[in-house]
């Protein structure tokens, strides 16, 4: 089902993907990787590059055959109508699970880092109102927003890396021995969890133009993402050490608090909070649009705009019903979300490719 209006380019999709990565990368990755691989944790994103590249190659092959179809139509054609619908319904459930999870994380992070004592429902309501307003203005607006926000985030990361360079202690990030390989492989699962959102975003494929350049742009995005995640981990572990990074609730914020230039430029963590707010907003908007797009293709709807408000109302309730406290959320991230995201983000596309080859569809 190709729509001529409200489309974005592959480049804009990759911009959205890169911004989406930045939110969980700064929240979840430093503590998880330093817990798993200690001082070698910062190397783990390099390992996660391989499955991401494999996913890009698989999707490129699929898009060569199915240029105009939506991802739901592609899955239904390859796996058969019934199995395809079942798989797509699972993806809808996955997205509907992730949105309240990130909404809750977003509000909890603001409460625990800056606005302590505030009721987090205020942040959830404000976020959802703005998301409804922006999504009503179509996907193109999100694509253009990503083009504006990403250079700002990139520049901030570059400046932050430069400012924190003198604070990095090399004995916090070295030495790395051969016996660190297994811990690094274990730590790389966390980066794979985050990279799994590439496949979820590709459910917008029927609203993406110029898929001919998908491979080139996706590879560029993959290298940029791996490099930026690597820099974030190197800075955080290098400044704080793996033992502090693994125990701190928000290690990146703690590392940024160490920035001090001639005792005049200090407390720049407010910029990190601003970046988080933008990144979370983009992440949640993109995921809600993706979920609505899955619904549109799954139920053959002509318009999903009337479903937006009721879906967001459900998200609001799920945001508070998903977990009783932050501890439960973190336990969930450490245990269940890793296999679930890797399954939906990497294994199902691989199965899709295998079934497509066996049935002669690809």
């Amino acid at each position: 089902m190709k729509t001529n209006r409200d489309t974005i380019s592959v480049r804009q999709l990759m911009f959205i993907f890169t911004i989406i990565i930045s939110s969980p990368a700064t929240r979840f990755l430093p503590s998880y990787t330093s817990q798993q691989a200690k001082q070698a944790g910062w190397v783990s994103p390099v390992v996660a590059l391989l499955p991401l590249m494999l996913l890009i190659l698989i999707m490129n092959t699929i898009f060569k055959k199915y240029e105009e179809e939506s991802m739901v139509e592609i899955i239904e054609d390859i796996m058969g109508r019934f199995a395809g619908k079942a798989v797509t319904a699972l993806y809808l459930l996955w997205a509907t699970w992730l949105i309240p999870l990130y909404m809750r994380y977003s509000s909890e992070r603001l409460v625990s880092s800056v606005y302590s004592g505030y009721n987090n429902s205020i942040f959830v309501i404000i976020n959802l109102v703005f998301i409804v307003y922006i999504i009503r203005s179509k996907l193109t607006v999100i694509g253009r927003m990503a083009e504006i926000i990403l250079p700002v985030i990139g520049a901030f990361l570059f400046i932050l890396a430069a400012l924190l360079l003198p604070q990095i202690r090399l004995d916090n990030v070295a030495p790395i021995y051969f016996n660190d390989i297994i811990p690094i492989l274990k730590a790389s699962r966390a980066t794979m969890v985050v990279f799994a959102y590439m496949f979820l975003l590709l459910f917008l494929s029927d609203r993406v133009n110029g898929k001919g350049s998908f491979k080139k742009l996706a590879f560029t995005a993959a290298f940029v993402n791996v490099s930026s995640v690597l820099v974030v981990l190197f800075i955080t572990i290098g400044v704080l050490s793996s033992s502090i990074a693994s125990r701190s609730p928000v290690p990146v914020l703690l590392a940024v608090k160490q920035v001090s230039i001639a005792d005049t430029i200090e407390n720049i963590e407010a910029i990190v909070v601003a970046v988080w707010i933008f990144a979370d907003f983009m992440l949640l908007s993109a995921m809600i649009i993706t979920a609505l797009n899955i619904m549109r293709s799954l139920f053959k709807l002509s318009d999903t705009a009337p479903l937006l408000k009721i879906y967001v109302a459900l998200i609001y309730l799920l945001t508070f019903g998903i977990a009783a406290n932050k501890l439960e959320l973190e336990d969930f991230s450490r245990t269940l979300i890793t296999p679930v995201n890797i399954f939906f983000g990497f294994i199902v596309p691989l199965l899709l490719f295998g079934v497509g080859k066996i049935r002669g569809k690809l």
Partner: protein, 73 residues
């Protein structure tokens, strides 16, 4: 302090307002499939909302998942 039933009444009023606006728009445009999906979503939202507000201190989907997959934390 807002009581449980006050929360449920607020939820139903908000959902009713959304229904009036969106179902009206869909009827005008003749979107039949959309109306069915909308009503199903509304049903899920209202029933989950009532469950959540009546079990506000014990409702946790994550805990339910841990029980389902028998994960000890």
């Amino acid at each position: 302090m807002i009581r449980v039933w006050d929360r449920i009444v607020i939820l139903i009023v908000v959902i009713a307002a959304i229904c009036i606006v969106d179902l009206g728009t869909m009827s005008k445009k003749g979107l039949k499939r959309e109306r069915i999906v909308f009503l199903v979503l509304t049903g899920i939202t209202v029933s989950y909302g009532i469950y959540f507000y009546t079990h506000i201190f014990s409702a946790s989907l994550v805990r339910a998942m841990f029980k389902l997959f028998r994960i000890d934390i």
